[in-house]
Every structure is written in structure tokens, then in C-alpha cells.
């Protein structure tokens, strides 16, 4: 007895190999699970409640998975809908599911699981002493929480299990841990808990744990003693090294992974090749915690941005760019404060020298010498789009013509297009690295159940 989970890819929208998916379906999985997002692409998506991937691509992939689900008659589950897992993104997937069900004449029971919390709910939890910071955590207080545009908690396995128990064919969940999406069914069926969570961690990125990451599809089989993982694409192989190395991926700690309800410990896990394609893992341990903790994520708007880019080809200015940009910064800030009357705390000007240290900043240690040309990227953040752009107008002549000394001709650097400024709209930041203790794993995640009968 075992539980088989088919994972088509690391995230909906990334693509998967149709042949590999078909091979996976032939293996009679008990459930099809896929992740819908993560924080990996930054705070903008959570800040705005929008999706990173193309709607059309997501719809195409989801339609394929809905057909696969019906073909083999098992549940289809997606967590963290729409990259950020906000309530409106769950409803976005719901509308998509509805329109596809109508198009392909399906009869399905659809469960929605919502992960968002209101500012009021978080403030209440904070004042009841239920919220704790992780390391490092931004400071939060009642006033700051009011500025957050979206707050989500990461659902564990229990809300998924509850929806499965209610006979859901399709589950659309808001923000959840990647692992909970996959571990829910095997845990429910009494498989080894350490193997459920560890297997889920390995499988959640799809075929990333194999020799062919872009093939997407992985089959995970969990039983009472351990789990087996196999990549479905013909040219993809899982090896003990590729599978054990995957615990390192995007994890600060390779041995312990905190999940809602406990911690996964993999230090004692052993990895064995069953054949050239499959790996068997035993020895993973699940340590339940005394209280049920979920991770919180939040985002707030920090302002509006306008950018400018100039390219310096003149060798002397390329060589002196650091001195030159410091001069530009000083003159710019002084003028903005005195002429535009904007206090220093209400704007920032960030100058990045592309060709020197734009990626690594003060950590850059390369002594490669001067490049042929240098890109000067100025990022202005202010309290409104108008102010950010007005600041760019003030900086414009400096960026184009600022000389190193007063006793020389004004240079004219290259603007790659007109106008010289680009408005970027609102920018956000992550505001929470905290956990919340829940009284129970399910009541914090509202559920809705619907039937589509187009069959």
C-alpha cells in the first residue's frame, strides 16, 4: 500500500512536457498536485494581489490538468494560486476553472481555501501574544499593520485534507506551504509522516530533483517506510545525489525544515538508487510541535519609482564614474531639498553603475579594470509618481552633462531613448517574517465548496 502523487511541474505557468505527463498518468497516481507560486519573484505580486505568469499560459496548462484529472478520476490540487495566494487570486483560478469546465463539459466539485488575513485579524493576534518574529524580522506594530496591502498565512496539510474529505475533485488554495499541497493525501492515508513531508519537499519543484529540470513531471510514491521519486520524462533520471542535493535548494538549513504543525528532520535520511531512474529515501523524521504555527507573509507599498539610464562611453568618465556619480548625487539631493522643498526622508536616489558593481554593490571584489562603457541607472523613489518624475526632470541635465570639473567642456552622455525617464508605478516591500500560533489548523482558512455541472 502506498500513495502516489503526480507533480506536473514546479509551478503552474512554467510549462511541462506532455509526453512525460501522459507517462505519469499511466502510473495511476492517487492525486495530481501543483504549486501556484512563491515569494521568489519579490513583493510586488503580494503587494498588488496579482499573478506573475501569463493568464493565457496558465489557462492552457490548467485545462490540460483538468482533462488529466477527469481521465484518471483523481483530485487535482493547486496551492498558492496566482503567485501570491491572495483571495482574489484563488477566485481568479476559480473563474478559470469554471470557464474551462463549461468549455469541456465537466462535472466537478470545486473547493476554495482562502489564506488571507485582514489587518484587524493580525492586530488582534499580535496583541493576544500569538505572533512571534523569526530571524530577521521587520518591526511590526498596530499602526504599521494598517499599511499592509495584503497579509497571508501559509496553510498546512489540514485544510487540504478537510477539502478532500468533503469530496473535492479540484482544490484551489491560497497561500500554502509548497509541501502541504503534496503531503496532505499521503498523511491522511497514514503513510510515514517523515516520508510524506520529505517526499513533498523533493517533489514540489517537479523535475528539479532530476537530471532534466525543464521536463517538469515527477512521480512521488510514499509508503509506511519511506518514499520513492521518479522523473517521468524518458531522458530524466533521479540519482541519490540529485535528490539529496535538492534539499539544499532555496533552503537556509539543509537538515531541518519547519512546516505547519512540526519540523522535518532529514539528517538521518539515506538515499539509494533503485535503478538508474528512481531513488528510494528512508530515515526522514517528522517531529510534531506542541503548538500549531503558521508562517505569515505581508507586503506594503513604499512609494513610486521613476528611473533613468545613461550610458557613458568616454574612457575618462568611465574611469572616474564613482567620483562623478557621488558628485551628481550630492548636487541632486541638495537641489531637491532646497528648490523642490522635499525633505530628505521623503525620497531616495539610488545610482547603480552597470559595468562595475550594479549587482554586488560594496561586496564587489573584482579587479578587472575599466569596462568599455558604463550604464548609469538612477532609481528614484518618492511618495507619488509625479514627485518621482519631477525629481528625474531635475536630475536630467546632471545625468546628461555633469562635468568632472568646472574647467572643461560639458560632456554629453548617451540616453538610449526619449523621454529619458521611465515611470515604474508603485513599489512594495515584504513586511513580515513572523509566525502565528493557531488554535486549530483549519478554522483560520475559510473554505467554499461549489459544484459545476456542465457534464
Amino acid at each position: 500500500m502506498s500513495t502516489k502523487i503526480l507533480v506536473p511541474s514546479g509551478v503552474l505557468g512554467l510549462g511541462f512536457d506532455q509526453k512525460a505527463l501522459n507517462l505519469g498518468l499511466k502510473r495511476c497516481p492517487d492525486i495530481i498536485c501543483i504549486d501556484g507560486g512563491s515569494t521568489d519573484s519579490g513583493p510586488f505580486y503580494l503587494g498588488t494581489g496579482t499573478t506573475k505568469y501569463s493568464s493565457e499560459i496558465c489557462k492552457l496548462e490548467w485545462k490540460t490538468l483538468m482533462k488529466a484529472r477527469e481521465q484518471i478520476g483523481v483530485p487535482l490540487v493547486i496551492g498558492t494560486c496566482g503567485t501570491c495566494g491572495t483571495n482574489n487570486m484563488v477566485d481568479w483560478m476559480f473563474d478559470m476553472t469554471h470557464s474551462i469546465a463549461k468549455e469541456i463539459n465537466q462535472k466537478v466539485r470545486v473547493a476554495r481555501i482562502y489564506s488571507e488575513k485582514s489587518a484587524e485579524q493580525l492586530k488582534e493576534a499580535l496583541s493576544s501574544g500569538k505572533v512571534f518574529p523569526l530571524e530577521p524580522a521587520p518591526d511590526i506594530d498596530q499602526r504599521k499593520i494598517d499599511t499592509f496591502t495584503h497579509i497571508v498565512s501559509l496553510a498546512g496539510a489540514e485544510p487540504f485534507q478537510d477539502a478532500l474529505n468533503k469530496g473535492a475533485d479540484i482544490i484551489l488554495a491560497g497561500r500554502s506551504t509548497d509541501t502541504a499541497i503534496i503531503s496532505a493525501l499521503p498523511l491522511m492515508r497514514g503513510e510515514n509522516p517523515g516520508a510524506c513531508w520529505h517526499g513533498a519537499k523533493i517533489a514540489e519543484c517537479g523535475a528539479f530533483c532530476s537530471s532534466n529540470p525543464s521536463s517538469g513531471v515527477i512521480l512521488l510514491e510514499v509508503d509506511k517506510n519511506g518514499f520513492t521519486v521518479e522523473a517521468m520524462a524518458k531522458e530524466a533520471f533521479c540519482t541519490p545525489r540529485s535528490v539529496s542535493a535538492h534539499m539544499l535548494y532555496e533552503n537556509a538549513d539543509p537538515f531541518s525544515l519547519h512546516e505547519p504543525g512540526g519540523t522535518l528532520e532529514v539528517k538521518e535520511a539515506s538515499y539509494k538508487s533503485l535503478d538508474e531512474r528512481r531513488v528510494r529515501v528512508i530515515g526522514s523524521k517528522w517531529m510534531p510541535s506542541s503548538n500549531y504555527k503558521v508562517k505569515l507573509e505581508g507586503a506594503r507599498k513604499v512609494g513610486y519609482q521613476t528611473t533613468m539610464l545613461a550610458i557613458i562611453r568616454q574612457n575618462r568618465y568611465v574611469k572616474e564614474a564613482k567620483k562623478w556619480s557621488k558628485k551628481l548625487y550630492g548636487l541632486g539631493v541638495e537641489k531637491i531639498v532646497s528648490v523642490m522643498n522635499i525633505p530628505k526622508e521623503e525620497f531616495t536616489i539610488d545610482i547603480r553603475l552597470i559595468g562595475y558593481d550594479a549587482t554586488l554593490g560594496h561586496l564587489e571584489k573584482s579587479k578587472k579594470g575599466t569596462p568599455n562603457e558604463l550604464g548609469v541607472l538612477i532609481i528614484i523613489t518618492a511618495q507619488s509618481q509625479e514627485i518621482a518624475t519631477e525629481i528625474s526632470r531635475l536630475l536630467n541635465p546632471y545625468l546628461l552633462h555633469l562635468p568632472l570639473t568646472d574647467q572643461e567642456d560639458l560632456p554629453t552622455f548617451a540616453f538610449p531613448y526619449a523621454p529619458a525617464h521611465t515611470e515604474r508605478g508603485s513599489v512594495f516591500e515584504f513586511t513580515l517574517n513572523h509566525i502565528q500560533i493557531l488554535d486549530d489548523p483549519i478554522s483560520g482558512f475559510e473554505q467554499k465548496l461549489d459544484e459545476f455541472n456542465f457534464g
Binding site: T39, D40, S41, G42, P43, F44, L134, E135, P136, A137, P138, R241, S244, A245, L248, Y249, E250, N251, A252, D253, P254, F255, V302, G303, Q305, T348, D350, R352, A358, T359, L360, G361, H362, L363, K365, S366, I379, T381, V427, F428, E429, F430, N433
Partner: protein
Amino acid sequence: MSSILANLKQITSKIRSKNAGPFWITIDIFFDKADSYKKVKKTLSLDFVSKYLNLPQKYIKRFELDSLKVIKISIQRAVTQGNIFDRDLHGAQLANLFSELEIN
């Protein structure tokens, strides 16, 4: 006795870095050869990494995975991912600091 300076890239099979959530970056250094792994384990001490990254030790976690021949270094991001001063949203370019590190 002369020692030949190699950079880490030349004596490792792979070096990668990536965000581990918005507040941490994790760096994985994979070795093929046991003797390179053993040597670099000694050189890339917590103290060395702290000085190299200009980051106090309390913000760094360091792991040695002998069965995989991997050194993992996880650091608290000086700037949260996506913050207006973040220069590398996915944290993947930090690995170059280690690829280009000269070791003798």
C-alpha cells in the same frame, strides 16, 4: 614550496546561490574531489566567510555535508528581497563572489 592560486570555480563542480525566502540567501558549493572539499572546508571557515562578506558571524549559518561534498553557507540578507535597494532580486549573482575567490 610554491602554491598555485586557483579560483573556487576551477576546483568545484558547481557553485550556486539563491534566496531562501525573502530574508536569507543560501550558497551551495559542490565538490567532485574529496581532497578539494577537505581543503576548502578548512579555508572557508565561518570566520573567513564573515570577513569576506563583511557580515557578523551571527548572521551566517554554515553547514558541511560530507556525504554530498557540499559546503552550504546561508546568510541573512543585508537588504530584504525586493526592497528598493536590492540589487539582485533572486540572489543568484552572489555566487560569483565565491566562484572568483582565489584559494591556494
